[in-house]
Symmetry: C2
Subunit: 272 residues, 2 copies
Amino acid sequence: VFLIDGIQTDLIDAGDRGLQYGDGLFETIAVEQGEPQRWPQHMARLQAGCERLGISLPDEQTLLEEARTLCADGRERTVLKVIVTRGSGGRGYRAFAGALSHRILSLHPRPDYPIAWQQEGIRIRVCETRLGLQPALAGLKHLNRLEQVLARSEWDDPDIAEGLMLDVGGRVVEGTMSNLFVVMDGRLVTPSLTNCGVAGIIRQEVMEAARTMGLACSEEELSLDDVEEADELFLTNSLIGVWPVREVEGRTYRVGATSRELAAHVEQVKEA
Amino acid sequence: VFLIDGIQTDLIDAGDRGLQYGDGLFETIAVEQGEPQRWPQHMARLQAGCERLGISLPDEQTLLEEARTLCADGRERTVLKVIVTRGSGGRGYRAFAGALSHRILSLHPRPDYPIAWQQEGIRIRVCETRLGLQPALAGLKHLNRLEQVLARSEWDDPDIAEGLMLDVGGRVVEGTMSNLFVVMDGRLVTPSLTNCGVAGIIRQEVMEAARTMGLACSEEELSLDDVEEADELFLTNSLIGVWPVREVEGRTYRVGATSRELAAHVEQVKEA
């Protein structure tokens, strides 16, 4: 089900710059009982992204009304995807000055991940596809996602929940669709996103929660060795919340107290 | 005017992975008297790109028939854009195995660049937006083009024909929509495309022509200093052929014999 610039249709203008150049941004939002979760955080990130890319920001009230219209379908748990593109037309890569952005909202079933993944942790792999280094796009949830598509195509095994991605310089950055945290030496570390990666909503929430809990938390460069030696490991995104990691390519981890505490915190925010 | 999977419409499925993830490739093809130019070269590049990304290759005969149908509009000179996306659907970044690609053909007026640009050369600038380093996508004409969009948004001056792009490591790679050649020490050099850049059809043609002419030609890493010290400079793509460069940010160049000879060669191939 799509709502495109307010109209119920699943067709878009083939001249849309989102298709032509990947010229846009998106948000993937958990929906509970028809209500989009963490809406202000998603809108803040979308707004920041539009500013960085020079895309006209859609009216937030309109977006919220459209989101609620689309989400009110009676299902308990769904996923709202909001795409904002720079609009249509222009001359080659050059956009028309003042081009009006397009908003493409769609509602999807929630992926049916096993409950055990949240409780007992997940098995993950290390992807061969690397993330390119591009500070100008780092942190943004933009539509240029070929790297993630290639990385996700590397495995079929349904028991492997996610794949870690390194950048071309060998630093561990994130999962194909999630952010990474490690607990090491009693503190929490998440990879810095200076050169690549997506600055996730839950990533931000976990960093803030850690500070509130008095747990040191920093953004750093991480190597595979750091991951190997970590005490705990977990992944985050808006749909999964927190997934503790119990195995990376044969190396096993315990699901520790820090992971459990932060997972509980994120769950609590969801219910609030 | 669009022809999408053989149907005349300008609307595409909003679930197309080209829009959702930039998951596809494209070709920009000069059309003369209704006939797409350098069709075999464009198809060879498209095929190589589909193989690298694991996208199902559309039937080439079908593509050619559709291209000819679209191009036969009586205009003398037009531009055919062929987009091939991985298709629709899948679960997040993961595509359905065996997904059928979509083909999106569109016909456009030829940009009305001044004739003088070909004869007397162009003025260009150096862009601030850098190209990220990503060997897995280097050379491909894929749909993840945010870097080019950002670079092309840096200037408005219609007298500046193109912008040079450096990679994040400071090497000169290409223009926003063209490949670069320099003549230095009596030989021809074009930047190597190991980490980024698009392997252009005319770039390949010029390299082959140089060899036929007995002119040494190599792919190397180039710095801005190399460009500054070069004897001649020119840019290439399928629509412009060869544009000699007469000025880069105040440094002027003569339009030399090598540029003229290779420009004439490319023009000749066009007419053949």
